[in-house]
């Protein structure tokens, strides 16, 4: 029986994805302080270097909406019906807390990495 050993690149890639996965929600909530529909949201995220798979983005938007963090409405734009998402009042409160958490974690990690170098 042969076992395929993970290469350094594979390991890095899987850890990179894991690292980014947790921060995607923060990025999405942060962007939705302004109204977006899914397609423009994805492009906006990609423009700042946060790539997100469509297969993950749309279910995530639905989930955040069902949790009360987003509101949405169907509207016509460019001759097509589009679903626009925006941060709800509850979403704003959660985003503020998550941002605080993110900043704290960021400072802690930088401190740790500085100490180790």
């Amino acid at each position: 029986m042969t076992h395929s050993m993970p290469t350094e690149t594979n390991t890095f890639e899987s850890l990179r994805l894991e690292l980014r996965r947790g921060s995607l929600i923060l990025a999405v909530l942060g962007h939705l302080r302004r109204e977006h529909y899914g397609y423009t949201l994805r492009k906006a995220l990609a423009d700042v270097g946060v790539e997100i798979d469509e297969g993950a983005l749309y279910p995530m938007l639905r989930r955040l909406e069902s949790q009360g963090l987003l509101t949405s409405e169907w509207r016509e734009e460019e001759k097509r019906n589009k679903r626009f998402y925006r941060l709800s009042a509850e979403g704003q409160a959660v985003l503020a807390r998550l941002t605080e958490e993110w900043a704290f974690l960021n400072v802690s990690i930088i401190e740790i990495l500085k100490g180790e170098s």
């Binding site: 749309y58 279910p59 097509r80």
Partner: protein, 320 residues
Amino acid sequence: MDLIERYLAAIGRNLPAKQAGDITAELRDVLLSRVEEREERLGRPLSKAELEALLIDFGNPLVVAWRYRKIQQLIGPEVFPFWWAGLKIALGVVAGIYLILIILAGLLGVTPAEFKQQYPDVGVVAVFVFGLVTLICAGFERLGKTDALTKWRPSRLPPAGVKPRSRFEAATEGTASTVFILWWVGLFRFSDMIPFPGFITVKMAPVWTDYHWPILAYAVLDVAVSAMTIVRPGNVRLNSAVSLGRHAIGAVLLAGVLRAGHWLEVSGPTQTPQVLEQINRNFDIGMRVGIWGGVLIMAAKAASEGWRFYKARQQTPSPA
């Protein structure tokens, strides 16, 4: 665009009916936006192959639809360790039961063909047990009752230096006692175990009738103690205390039976009284040795459980 509609219909079939229309409408817009963007870049309409490639890249309809489901996994990481442990215990119990049945079948002279006829195939039972454990764990996952599984108390862990009885051992003993109970209450005929059918007839002596209920009660206690160990092997103090009592009772019972001096009644219409007397004497010698052996084994087990109880007690601080 027929391909897009077919694709969306395939996704819709796998979505909850209430949300299907809304979700597929949103996905239609996403796909059309993608197509427009690509066409704009190419400066021409997409070919069928290019559209197919775009849809393949978007994802398998079942996978895309499934991402919208609340339940994303049958058994999640919280329940998985319990599923794995539960599976090991359940399959261990099945293995224990079949081990005893095979030994018993060997003693009763049951042929493999008869065994196959009487009992379900062990592979089928194992698959059934696998499915049952998976179903129960999936139920916990689905109902969100993972807390009920993950709740634990450090004080219930076995002391570090004491090895608790293994679940396999408890399952084997419990199964053996269950089989014994079934035989004791008459589900198996004693005559089935006679080594010389037709040559002699063996009946149990009156002492066994006198001890019928105490022995039955002992066997039921044995099954209960084994079940207790299977459910909570870490409770070493209680398990070993109960086991000690059980083995002590067993030793006393057998000692009582031993006092009878005569345990089997052998008769045979074709045998002379002298031959029958000799056979009876030989059987009684065999039984005496066997019962003495039983008493000693019970006493040794009681002592072993007593030692386990003592060690567990030494290592577990008394509650303040």
